[in-house]
């Protein structure tokens, strides 16, 4: 999360001659990243990104602590002024408030009554600081809460004490919406005037009259809010169950600064400083009189966590050797206590780092970052090489793509997520939480996506060819779906022969022995679809869609299985071919593919046949007459030709055109 830290406020806790730019650079290298150094009326302001595991740094004081540990590594002098809490009289019971707390939801519950506050605007120094961190000052009571939250990272809430019925509080989970006898979830109106129906399990506070007066950790209730007539304030500082806070805040889409902090699990020890700062500021700015006895329900106070690590472990992971003294110095600056026994180091983790320091690697991280990752050498690893993947598909896939590109195709990447209309929703996998109905299902064919892609270019007058290679998802019971890699393409304004030629050419490039078989199918114009087969298996299809576009697809794995990297060797013919063009008139509805198959299979002395032209019902074929054992004489060619023509006449009614 990004936070704003004014330089002047930061220096209240730091003594250093470092410039704001120096502080920004050093912090970025060894601690939280300073994204920007802004100018403001209140002087320079750092915009800092703090990672979610470091909620201890989400405050002016937290950043000051980091700066104090980091600057010495850059040979810049710095000292930290720690915040010391005032003398606090903490009690499990107080007269002014009866509280029942579910400690699974609230690890520490602290409150103090402050009487006779006078509500007015805050002093300028506080207003300036709040504005510098992007908070609008309202009145002293509200401003104090916001000020403490930005100063130390502890959210603070205030109730109008006189609005809490019976001065009684019960902190409990909200009733489950589905099981509630009342039907539907409990309702609460927060102090921004919005009413929410709670999903259940949310942390709420109920007062003596059974009303909900607080959506704890997120926002207070409207019915218990401080207003201009408030006399007595209940200052409220707690630590809540981070999971509950996140769930409620996300499901209600109610993202407050307090919620964002609480869901990251701030240090319960910080509550002491929070209540202490609150009492100080209320006394100073509102003239209020705090009760001596403070309510503090904290059944499990922090006991210092120990993490052990070996010096060799640190050296091996960092790749550089650091001395024991250096390691201890670094850790102490971060608030750890260290004890060495030979090579073994025992560290005692400060309360504010309890959530993110668990294992020896965490200690390596602390030592490494302060040493500066940027100071580590850079070397490629040596040692054994891994085995390559057997049967890797990648080279084949790129070969296909490159060929299609060379043949004029444009590669597209369309969404794997599609709408209900483009597939059978009874079969396809559906998302539980789609972004919208257009991307609700996992596609089972590339065809609808490519048809859509072509229609995006309906304004294009030139012919075009789009293709894509992507997975389709075939559901399997109780298992992950089969992800099948498909190649599909669509031709617009291509003639049938042009389009088919691209596919034939591709298959030849891949050294696939293929044949086409006409077979009708859904979405294609009858008689205008071919199944592409190789070695007896169907590997793809090609045909004219009902919308007139030409579509093809291949199952890439099958295509790869029938392809050969290098074509097979055939001896170069020793004797030349006689090549001639003959033009035949074919009766209507003759399939020219069958005629050509007949010609090329007719006799071994015909080595090749091509169609060179079509004019009305006349088809011109170029025929290669060739014998592997001798040069054919004109007479022999004539013999073959005559037999061929006779055969074609009998089979197809083909006649020689004069």
């Amino acid at each position: 999360m990004d936070i704003l830290i004014p330089d002047k406020w930061l220096r209240e806790f730091l003594k250093t001659k470092a410039t704001p730019r120096q502080i920004a650079n050093c912090l970025s290298l060894c601690g939280p990243s300073v994204e920007r150094l802004n100018k403001s009326q209140y002087g320079p302001v750092y915009l800092i990104e703090v990672t979610t595991n470091r909620v201890d740094s989400v405050s002016v004081y937290g950043i000051a602590r980091e700066v104090a540990a980091i600057l010495p590594r850059f040979n810049i002098k710095v000292s930290l002024h720690p915040i010391k809490p005032i003398n606090l009289d903490l009690n499990k019971k107080v007269k002014y408030l009866k509280a029942g707390v579910d400690h699974n939801l609230c690890a520490r519950f602290t409150a103090v009554l402050i009487k006779n506050v006078s509500i007015k605007t805050s002093p300028d120094w506080m207003k300036e600081r709040l504005m510098a961190v992007g908070v609008r000052p309202l009145n002293n009571v509200i401003d104090i809460s916001n000020y403490i939250m930005h100063e130390i990272g502890q959210p603070v809430h205030t109730f109008d004490y006189d609005k809490i019925a019976g001065h009684r509080m019960i902190l409990r989970p909200a009733r489950n919406a589905s099981h509630s006898d009342a039907g539907g979830g409990e309702k609460i109106t927060t102090l921004d005037g919005k009413t929410f129906t709670l999903p259940g399990g949310d942390i709420v506070i109920e007062d003596g009259s059974g009303r909900l007066i607080d959506l704890a950790g997120i926002m207070g209730g409207e019915n218990s809010a401080v207003d201009e007539n408030t006399k007595n304030v209940l200052l409220f500082v707690q630590t809540y169950n981070p999971m509950s806070i996140r769930r409620t805040s996300m499901s209600l889409a109610h993202r407050t600064e307090a919620a964002v902090l609480f869901e990251k699990g701030p240090d319960p020890e910080l509550v002491t400083i929070g209540i202490s700062r609150g009492i100080e500021l209320f006394t100073k700015l509102t003239g209020g009189k705090p009760e001596k006895k403070i309510l503090d329900l904290y059944p499990n106070p922090y006991k210092a966590k120990k993490v052990e690590v070996d010096i060799d472990f640190i050296t091996e992971r960092l790749g550089v050797l650091l001395s024991k003294g250096e390691i201890s110095k670094t850790l102490k600056a971060l608030g750890f206590e260290t004890t060495w026994k030979g090579k073994k180091l025992t560290t005692s983790v400060p309360s504010w780092r309890a959530n993110d320091i668990d294992i020896p690697e965490d200690i390596v991280e602390e030592v490494g970052r302060i040493y500066g990752y940027h100071n580590l050498p850079s070397e490629l690893m040596t040692g054994r090489l891994p085995q390559s993947l057997s049967n890797s598909p990648f080279n084949f896939e790129i070969k296909v793509k490159r060929f299609l590109k060379g043949a004029g195709g444009f590669e597209v990447y369309t969404s794997s997520l599609v709408s209900k209309d483009s597939l059978n929703p009874k079969v396809a996998l559906r998302l539980k939480n789609p972004l919208g109905p257009e991307t609700e299902y996992l596609r089972m064919s590339l065809a609808p996506s490519l048809i859509e892609a072509a229609s995006q270019n309906s304004g294009e007058k030139e012919s075009f060819h789009l293709f894509e290679m992507a997975n389709i998802y075939i559901p399997r019971k109780g298992n992950l779906p089969d992800e099948e890699m498909y190649l599909a393409g669509i031709f617009s304004n291509y003639s049938y022969r042009q389009a088919k030629g691209v596919i034939e050419s591709l298959l030849e490039e891949l050294n696939v022995k293929y044949f086409f078989e006409p077979e009708d199918s859904q979405h294609f114009i009858p008689s205008q679809r071919l199944v592409i087969k190789s070695k007896g298996n169907e590997i793809g299809q090609f045909g004219v869609l009902e919308n007139g576009k030409i579509y093809y697809e291949f199952y890439v794995e099958k295509l790869r299985n029938v392809s050969a990297e290098i074509g097979s060797y055939k001896p170069i013919p020793k004797y030349p071919a006689q090549i001639e063009d003959i033009t035949l008139n074919l009766p209507p509805k003759t399939k020219v593919g069958e005629v050509m198959a007949e010609i090329s299979n007719f006799k071994f002395q015909i080595s090749n046949v091509e169609l060179t032209g079509i004019y009305k019902d006349s088809y011109t074929f170029r025929i290669w007459y060739q014998d592997p054992t001798k040069t054919l004489t004109d007479k022999e060619v004539e013999g073959v030709r005559n037999k061929l023509l006779k055969n074609l006449k009998e089979k197809f009614g083909a006649t020689l055109r004069n």
Binding site: A24, L29, C30, T51, T52, R246, R247, M250, E316, L318, G319, V320, I359, E361, D362, V364, E365, R369, Y373, H374, L376, S378, E379, L380, M381, L385, P386, Q387, S388, L389, S392, P393, F394, K401, L404, K405, G406, G408, F410, E411, Y413, T414, S415, S416, L429, R430, K432, N433, L435, T439, L442, A453, N457, E460, F464, L466, N471, G478, L480, E483
Partner: protein
Amino acid sequence: MQEEIINIKNEALSQIIEAKSKNELEDIRVIYLGRQGRLNKLTKEIKNLGKDERKKAGFLINESKNTILRLLVTQRNKLQESAREWFDPTTPGIKPKRGRLHLVTQAIEEIKSVFEKIGFVRVRYPEVEWDFLAFGSLNFTKDHPARDNWETFFIDTQAHPTYGPMLLTPHTSSGQVREMWRVRSTSPSTLSSGPNGSGFIPIRMINIAKCFRRQSDVSHVPMFHQFEGLVIDREISMVHLKGTLDYFARNFFGEDRKTRLRPYNFPFTEPSFEVDINCGLCKGKGCKFCKAGWHELGGAGMVHPTVLKNGGIDPRKYTGFAFGWGVERVMMMKSGLEIPDIRLLYSSDLRFLKQF
């Protein structure tokens, strides 16, 4: 005689002008300038003239020869020129249809080839995955935000009894544990093979794949691509991570590029880093296109011991590093392309596709 010379000259000139071919011109040359030509014949008669006359005639004959010769050549060139076929070499060519590979494919090929040169093996793992591989085995806590309905797409189907809900993989890191499993089954004796761990096959994986996240705005698309590097062997340290990233920076972005690591946080690496690359424009001095001389490239870290354990690898013997970055991001950074809305990258508009 002078008159005769002038007449012959004029006669020759008019014949040259009317000549239609080179042969004709050659004939004319022989008739007038040949050894037995008409002008040479006159030259022989000069000696019969008086001294003054002789001089003038000699001069005139010479001058006539030169004039005729010049015109002959000019006329021959003229005839040659017009005999040439008219040709305009400035006509534009007819181009064969040229398609395009998608920018993402181009980037993937380049990334792949950089890593393959240092022994990385390209792999691909499921796009639809179990929660365990995407999160659980990667040390994400149960309540980690990435695991909730607001960031990751879940499939509306029964959860696996062991591996949890089915989802669309939000990152290529889901391949980490799968790769460890793959390598281990190639060498089943891996972990029980004695103190030297002989038989362990080191991992240098580069996993490039489609990923999905529940996001859509000018800088985010719900479907995108990542590439994930994973290296596991004995004695792998941060120094090797830096070496690998610098190698990539130099070979993908350019000779004078280098990376820098800063602290960050990910559940599946410890320590974790944010990787920066020095700005290609200002070379690290700081300019308006970068952040004080650097650009953020993506995340990296040392593989968390829990992740190694989940992959069946003993974290006391082996260490490793991993990084996972956006293909689209490095491609845009490299090319300097400024596409105002990243979703355009996934449109099929030819007016866009034709540009690359």
